[in-house]
Amino acid sequence: MAGITFKNVVKTYDNGVTVVPNLNLEIKDKEFVVLVGPSGCGKSTTLRMIAGLESISDGELYIGDQLMNAVAPKNRNIAMVFQNYALYPHLSVYKNMTFALELAKVPKDEMNRKVKWAAEILGLEPYLDRKPKALSGGQRQRVALGRAMVRDPEVFLLDEPLSNLDAKLRTEMRSQISKLHKRLGTTFVYVTHDQTEAMTMGDRICVMKDGIIQQFDTPQNLYDYPCNLFVAGFIGSPQMNFIDAEVKKAEGGYKLCFGEAEVTVDKDLAAYEGKTVICGIRPEDLHAEKQFFGEGNMIDAYIDLDEMMGSESYLYLKYAGQKMIARVPARYAKKAEENISLAIDAEKVHLFDKDTEKAI
């Protein structure tokens, strides 16, 4: 089994555009790593470099402890699931799954055994003789997974495999892929632009932007301790609120002042005293329940728009000239064009430097 290591990897296209300037990344054996980021952030390119579909301009790529830069895709012992499934349209499901095995001259009975095994896990047994055209999107997706499974790869690469499915099927396939990872116990590298997929599936998540890794950590840590403004904004839905606040000295610490709110935080902000910082507050850390109300952490905001989601409500607020979103239990919510009093959970406030956008 194998981990994956990028050492100072650079990817520059023939037209001179550098999409990955300098990548250092270590993926452990048997880990489920999700590469996430907005489109054009280099996540797919990174995955395709692991697959050998993109050449590496500079630096070293190891799978296990073998240098892979010049190794052809077929010799890397990897399997890949593509966004559009990339099933061979002229071959049956069975033949699609055995295509690689036939090329590797795997004996017939072993081939049958492997296909049977994969088809059983994925529930594809009734469809083995069908052509991809005659399958639904979800079934095609499972065939693509099956085709990867029968090869017993050391690394599974998945490139936005769920983006062509409808919402319900996506949730279902998400858990199926997670289960598959546990069952197979191989390394999974999964690319997506959807932070929900990333959060629910990954052991560790690698957030990328402009070809640079922003943060590589567990979902919980990404959520609780985003290292910069970008990660903070990318992870979590609805998005974290960013508010400009002035840092003032208070007794026993410092306080963040914006509008009438003066939130006291337990952090050493001596360096920022008198300056403006960006204060990140997650929508769920704005509380409408009375038990959170206290001194200084209160805001009295005007509701622009309210979105009732059932058990909770998203309130689009205006406060002190800045826009905010709050996510409050439905029974505490108010309607649009009303004012609401909300308490800020001071312990969960994230602070970012206004110039470097890094977490303080």
């Binding site: 050998g52 050449s55 590496i56 301009s57 070293e60 830069n69 010049a70 190794v71 052809a72």
Partner: protein, 323 residues
Amino acid sequence: MLNKDKSKIKEISYAKWGYIFIAPFFIAFTIFQLIPLAQTIYYSFFEYYRSGLTIIGPTPVGLDNYKELFNSDFLKYAGNTVILWVAGFIPQIIISLLLAAWFTDVRLKIKGKQFFKVVIYMPNLIMASAFAMLFFALFSENGPVNASLVSMGILKTPFRFLASVKGTRGLVALMNFLMWFGNTTILLMAAVMGISPSLFEAAELDGCSPRQTFFRVTLPMIRPILVYVLITSMIGGLQMFDVPQILTNGKGSPDRTVTTLIMFLNNHLYSKNYGMAGAISVVLFIICAILCLLVYFNLNPTENDRKIKRRDRFKPRKEAING
């Protein structure tokens, strides 16, 4: 620090496969088209012909061949070619536009469209030489056409089509028309069907009559493909050979009024006058090269919006081929 080591690490590249895959095309093209073209141009500056069993030349003569060419009947043959092409193309484009408009008009419920399409395209697949031979037999002095016309009382005596300039040219134009109008119709139809139906619906709501819709919506929209049809048809016209050659047995009779440029070239090739054949070819090549450039810019317009339109139009749709 490790840069020197690193540069030794090979990267995987598939570029060489691109070269390997396109190599056969370019090799074949070089051997059978490019080198011949170069030779053709080269010998056009030489005196190089066969007289009896002796070969004269090759001796360089500069532009003499071209001077001789323009002093010969070249211009007359060029005129013939143009007349024959125009006489066939005008009815071809008019009928094709008309049919394309009718076939794509939803308000005209023409039955058996598929049948008509199959029938009108058929002459295009016919061996031109056999077609010409057939016309020759049918329109000869005592052929079935004259026989019918006489027996129906339209003519008193058989009309010698192939002895009259108008008759012969008319027959060539008729054959060219018959062979190509179906092809053009189908191309134009495809172009019209590529126009979004909502555009026609909008025109109808705006109160356009079918005629107005045709001139104000359909025609402007299919202009690129009309240009394409025009240019390719011109190139086809320049290549005109089989029909007049067989119909007149290579003589271009009466009085060489249907001798086309390629027939002229063919005569020089047969008599092995390579210098003159080269000169004719070069002139033809220059004309074709200009037309090729026009096709190229028509198919690859520089403006982005037209490019998109173009792509859509020429993109084969799989379903359409499958049935």
